[in-house]
């Protein structure tokens, strides 16, 4: 087979309780997600012979990445043929892309992938919403930002987003539609963090974090864990869920790999990965039934809509104007669980979980009509970008 990802399927998903105050340890949350994912696939612990994650244990108090592979593997007493974390890769999906390669190399058959965050609890005890502290010394990749009171991802992304607004002419009330639609979807998701719908007035009444980023353009730090099982297709046929293959991936990096020198801050690194993905499939944007697009900031979703070809470059404003096209009953439902903006910051794995929920018809009140079969997923943020297509085969 020309493209090895087509020989890999997502066979199970799991998610812990997602909250602003877990009350249990990050490892406990991770076990909840992992055990649920293994059971959901119809597998046993002993079937899992690979593990992959992004970005590995940060070994700090930030809650950004409090659990790595060794802790989880040991807790579950797994015996593995292959395992690897990754941080310098195509964003959060790098863990999936690595697992595809490992499965294709016959190093393993069923790979447990997880992403755990503990930022809601961590930020109560530290300045966990900042990447570094006043008066200290900063390491890569913050060294060029550090002296300028650019403390958080929001500071960097506001610089990128500002350039996008300048070049595209998008209007604030159009940008707002991402947050409004996400919240509307979250109102139908009992597991979402914020479920009360918001209006355009609410959006504009909320504080500006760093212009043009407003509060509701920023995702919500949470405590929680998501896990998925990636399986070789011939082994996946015995599992419980409908066969759902990875149709194509975009893992390239064609630009300057730098948070300051990235070629085009207005589009970030997404155009290159999207071009790679569409070059590995006969499908086209019109075939996508549901899009789970990264929304660490609403700007990322806007970037993804354009880069993945759902609308032309710098025309997302018109595409999302009024919100009807991207609503649950629109032509391209996005972030159907409420996304990171309203369901919580699961760093793209919330979106992977939700894509499977939709393709497997488990969406309940937020289920997209018409038996969706094709999902598009993206991650974004500065030089980090990745995307893939998920297709239910039956």
């Amino acid at each position: 087979m020309k493209y090895p990802e087509k020989n890999v399927a997502i066979t199970g998903i799991g998610q812990s309780r997602v909250s602003r105050d877990a009350g249990v340890s990050p490892l406990s949350l991770t076990l909840d997600a992992a055990l649920e994912a293994i059971a959901d696939a119809g597998l046993e612990r002993s079937d899992i012979d690979g593990m992959s994650c992004w970005p590995g244990d940060y070994q700090d108090a930030s809650g950004m990445a409090p659990v790595g592979i060794p802790a989880l593997q040991d807790a579950l007493r797994l015996k593995l043929g292959w395992y690897s974390n990754c941080r310098e890769t195509a964003g959060q999906f790098g863990a999936i892309f690595n697992a595809i390669a490992a499965i294709s190399a016959n190093l393993c058959r069923h790979v447990l992938i997880f992403r755990t965050m503990y930022q809601a609890t961590a930020r109560k005890t530290s300045f966990a919403n900042a990447s570094f502290q006043p008066g200290g010394r900063a390491f890569w990749p913050y060294d060029w930002f550090a002296p300028y009171h650019a403390y958080a991802a929001a500071s960097q992304q506001a610089l990128y987003f500002s350039r996008y607004v300048h070049e595209s002419g998008i209007k604030p009330e159009q940008v707002a539609q991402i947050a409004l639609i996400c919240r509307q979807n979250a109102s139908l998701n009992p597991a979402a963090i914020y479920r009360t719908p918001i209006t355009l007035d609410d959006y504009f009444d909320a504080p500006i974090i760093s212009s043009p980023l407003r509060l509701f353009d920023c995702d919500v730090p949470i405590d929680g864990s998501t896990a998925i099982i990636l399986s070789r297709v011939d082994c996946a046929r015995d599992t419980r869920n409908p066969l759902t293959r990875i149709e194509a991936i975009g893992s390239s990096m064609q630009y300057r790999n730098s948070w300051t020198q990235l070629d085009d801050p207005a589009t970030q690194a997404l155009p290159g990965v999207a071009e790679m993905m569409w070059g590995r499939t006969d499908l086209s944007p019109a075939d996508v039934d549901v899009a789970e697009l990264y929304d660490g900031f609403s700007f990322h979703t806007i970037n993804s809509l354009e880069a993945l070809g759902f609308c032309p470059k710098f025309e997302a404003g018109a595409f999302i104007d009024g919100g009807s096209r991207i609503a649950l009953d629109g032509e391209l439902p996005i972030n159907t669980n409420g996304g990171a903006l309203s369901a919580g910051r699961m760093h793209a794995y919330g979106q992977v979980h939700e894509a499977c929920v939709q393709l497997w018809g488990r969406g309940d009140r937020r289920q997209v009509a018409g038996d969706p079969r094709v999902a598009a997923l993206s991650t974004a943020g500065g030089p980090l970008a990745g995307c893939f297509l998920l297709v239910r085969d039956d």
């Binding site: 008066g135 550090a146 300028y148 650019a150 020198q261």
Partner: protein, 143 residues
């Protein structure tokens, strides 16, 4: 000291290295030093001892004019720490000499509400410990 950069929180600083020392300390002599290829005159930033254009390894710090253009900016309102005075402006500035050299900076000595993308700016320096932090202020097109 300028009037608009009143954040009152100590700047966080990079670690000085063999490669970045010229950039972060040139301000002691009121010079903005950027690595440049001695073979083909291409500016290489962040400072690196390899020219990606002609593959020369003969690359070193040279002073630039200090003029640049605001490529993008954000007005930060969020009080990330107690004692941080807001709002203040963070910007990407591209050098007049070569527009793919992009610096993060603060725009100072001006009314923040008047800052615009495309505005011409000039460097000035603020000492913090062993580092002279390059900052930029708007200049009129005639200066």
């Amino acid at each position: 000291m300028d009037d608009t950069d009143k954040t009152h929180a100590a700047r966080s600083l990079p670690f000085l290295t063999v490669d970045n020392r010229d950039f972060w300390t040139g301000g002691a002599n009121n010079r903005l030093l950027i690595f440049r290829c001695n073979s083909c005159a291409y500016y290489v930033h962040p400072p690196t001892t390899f020219c990606p254009r002609c593959e020369s390894r003969d690359v070193g710090a040279q002073p630039v004019s200090g003029f640049g253009t605001i490529f993008s900016f954000t007005m930060n309102y969020k009080k990330w720490f107690p004692g941080l005075d807001v709002p203040y402006i963070i910007a990407f500035v591209v050098l007049e000499e070569q527009d793919d050299v992009r610096l993060v900076s603060n725009i100072v000595d001006c009314n923040p509400d008047d800052v615009r993308i495309g505005q011409r700016v000039k460097v000035r320096f603020e000492q913090a410990s062993d580092i002279w932090v390059p900052l930029f202020a708007p200049v009129s097109d005639l200066s």
